[in-house]
């Protein structure tokens, strides 16, 4: 298969006595924008952590096509084309914006990362990502000095640095101003179908607008999955999550 999907089989995560995830089955179809929604504490980020390798599940398996990657570390999965951004902005605050992205690009060039006898390679493709995320003008600034919205854009830019096939974005719009929402939304949509995007987001308007497929989590279980139209019409979802506002 040219582009395998990411498959979660019967995934469960327990933290002590607490069941964060319970028997989750999920298939991420290549080229799709697949959103994961649900109320706070539903287990969305935990599922992300399992799929991207930050956390190993207590039970079940994660596969990339036919390959079992359940026990593979996060850094290893990046080399298979799986990259992520973080819910709480997680950047190198004391390094420049360009350097943040350069480090992301360099990470998938193993020989380059171990090179110690010369300076850094200026040919790494940083400009394209700076342009896509609208950060060219701030390239030389310290990342910590960026506005919150620009830091969120940098988060996405760093996830794109490895030129991944699968991009996991954890609440990329959290705390982003109205002006920036539209731009970041278009950026996310433009990633497919070349890349597969898995998105956690609370902004329902955006999720229903740009998703190909939506999975709804509640209390660690997948209670519904379908197209945006299916989800909008699902009475269970309306009761559990969407409320009367949609």
């Amino acid at each position: 298969m040219d582009r395998p999907g990411i498959i979660a089989e019967n995934v469960g995560v327990r933290f002590g006595g607490f069941r964060a995830l319970n028997r989750i089955d999920l298939e991420i179809t290549p080229g799709n924008l697949h959103s994961i929604i649900g109320p706070n504490g539903a287990g969305k980020t935990t599922l992300f952590n399992v799929l991207t390798g930050r956390l190993q599940p207590s039970e079940g398996h994660v596969r990339l096509g036919v390959r079992d990657i359940t026990r593979m570390a996060a850094h290893g999965r990046v080399h298979l084309g799986i990259a992520r951004s973080f819910q709480v902005t997680n950047i190198f605050h004391n390094l420049t914006v360009a350097e943040n992205i350069r480090l992301a690009v360099q990470a998938v060039r193993r020989a380059e990362s171990w090179t110690f006898w010369r300076g850094v390679n200026p040919d790494l493709n940083v400009e394209e990502i700076l342009a896509a995320t609208g950060l060219q003008a701030r390239a030389a600034d310290r990342a910590g000095t960026l506005s919150h919205g620009a830091q969120r854009a940098l988060e996405i830019g760093m996830a794109l640095g490895s030129d991944p096939r699968y991009v996991f974005l954890d609440e990329p719009l959290a705390g982003v101003s109205i002006d920036d929402i539209h731009r970041i939304k278009n950026l996310i949509r433009s990633l497919t179908p070349r890349r597969t995007v898995v998105l956690i987001e609370h902004n329902m308007r955006v999720v229903l607008d740009i998703s190909d497929r939506i999975t709804v989590l509640a209390q660690g279980e997948a209670i519904a999955e379908g197209t945006p139209a299916d989800i909008r019409a699902n009475p269970l979802v309306r009761a559990a999550y969407l409320g009367a506002s949609v």
Partner: protein
């Protein structure tokens, strides 16, 4: 910031300054032996400066690798016909391998637990040296270590001046190599790990492997310093592998400041010269070092060199502000 700042050009102004200082030292100091001692500890402190400043790893085990370098060089010189250079490099390589093994076991833990593990290994090394009395000479150390020419018949190390020249050359190369690593792609990864190891992992860097490599390089530098110490003294005393050696190297690094390799030279210089001066005045001179350490940590968190750099930076931006009408952000 108490850090190796991002991308100094290589070589930079401090590379030239270092060369000048190393040439001048035997002429400005009261004795050439003191200059030799200074460059030995500059390399030892550099191993801590590199690990703490660039990678953010506080190792209280660098004395172990210093000791392995010291005893390794002594054993090679006592039992083989190799020249001084080969002995020094082989001993440093042994220390690097030992550091990689200690690193492999220690990087499984972070923060305070990592520090405790390095401390435990340093303790273990000291008692291993005492236990292996037949090889190490136990509490007497290894004495009567010959000081053969550098390579074959070239570079006879008969005079203190020749010994200093040899040690200063190694010191210079160690600093240049460290600066090169710091401003390389590998250095950028180590800096990223120091800044945010979780993000570095998520970007695709095998953080443990990079930390092990950094510890091996730190071990190489410490081992190099230990081997230089053996060449300098002509013996390998037990205090080269005592846990107190680890402490001393960390203190030198912090006094000088871990923001730049130059901090190691300044810190080692300050410590060695002060010890030389104070020990003639008062047998309890270490108390004054402790007092200075407290004062520096409280009032100069960037160390002596870092604070000097900060002052130079302020002076420059002050001048720039005076010239240009636009305010310059610091």
């Amino acid at each position: 910031m108490n850090t190796f700042s991002a991308y100094r050009p290589f070589p930079d102004a401090t590379t030239g300054a270092l060369a000048i200082v190393l040439v001048a030292l035997p002429f400005v100091l009261p004795s050439v032996t003191l200059a030799s001692e200074l460059v030995v500890f500059a390399v030892g402190a550099l191993s801590c400066t590199f690990l703490l400043g660039l990678v953010g790893l506080l190792s209280f085990g660098q004395g172990l690798f210093f000791g392995i370098g010291a005893y390794g060089a002594a054993l090679i010189l006592l039992h083989s016909n190799s020249g001084s250079l080969v002995a020094v490099l082989a001993a440093a390589a042994m220390a690097a391998i030992a550091a990689a093994i200690v690193g492999f076991l220690s990087v499984r833990r972070r923060g305070i637990y990592f520090v405790m593990l390095t401390l435990a290994f340093a303790q273990m090394g000291y008692f291993a040296m005492l236990a292996l009395k037949n090889v190490t000479g136990g509490e007497n150390g290894l004495t009567g270590v010959p000081r053969p020419p550098i390579v074959a018949d070239l570079g006879v190390l008969a005079h203190p001046q020749a010994v200093y020249a040899f040690l200063a050359a190694i010191c210079f190369l160690a600093f240049v190599l460290t600066q090169r690593v710091a401003s390389s792609p590998l250095g950028s990864v180590l800096r990223a790990i120091r800044e945010n190891d979780i993000r570095a992992d998520a970007l695709g860097y095998d953080v443990r492997l990079f930390k092990i490599a950094a510890l091996a390089f730190g071990g190489f530098l410490a081992g190099l310093a230990g081997a230089m110490h053996t060449i300098f003294l002509g013996l390998a005393p037990p205090n080269t592998i005592e846990p107190e050696m680890s402490e001393r190297l960390v203190i030198m690094a912090i006094i000088g400041g871990t923001g730049s390799p130059m901090g190691a030279l300044i810190g080692a210089g300050f410590y060695v010269l002060l010890a030389d001066f104070l020990s003639t005045l008062w047998p309890r001179w270490l108390m004054i070092i402790a007092f200075l350490m407290i004062a520096i940590v409280l009032f100069l968190p960037n160390g002596l060199w870092g604070s000097a750099e900060l002052l130079i930076g302020r002076w420059k931006s002050h001048r720039a502000r005076a010239v240009s009408p636009e305010p310059v952000d610091g």
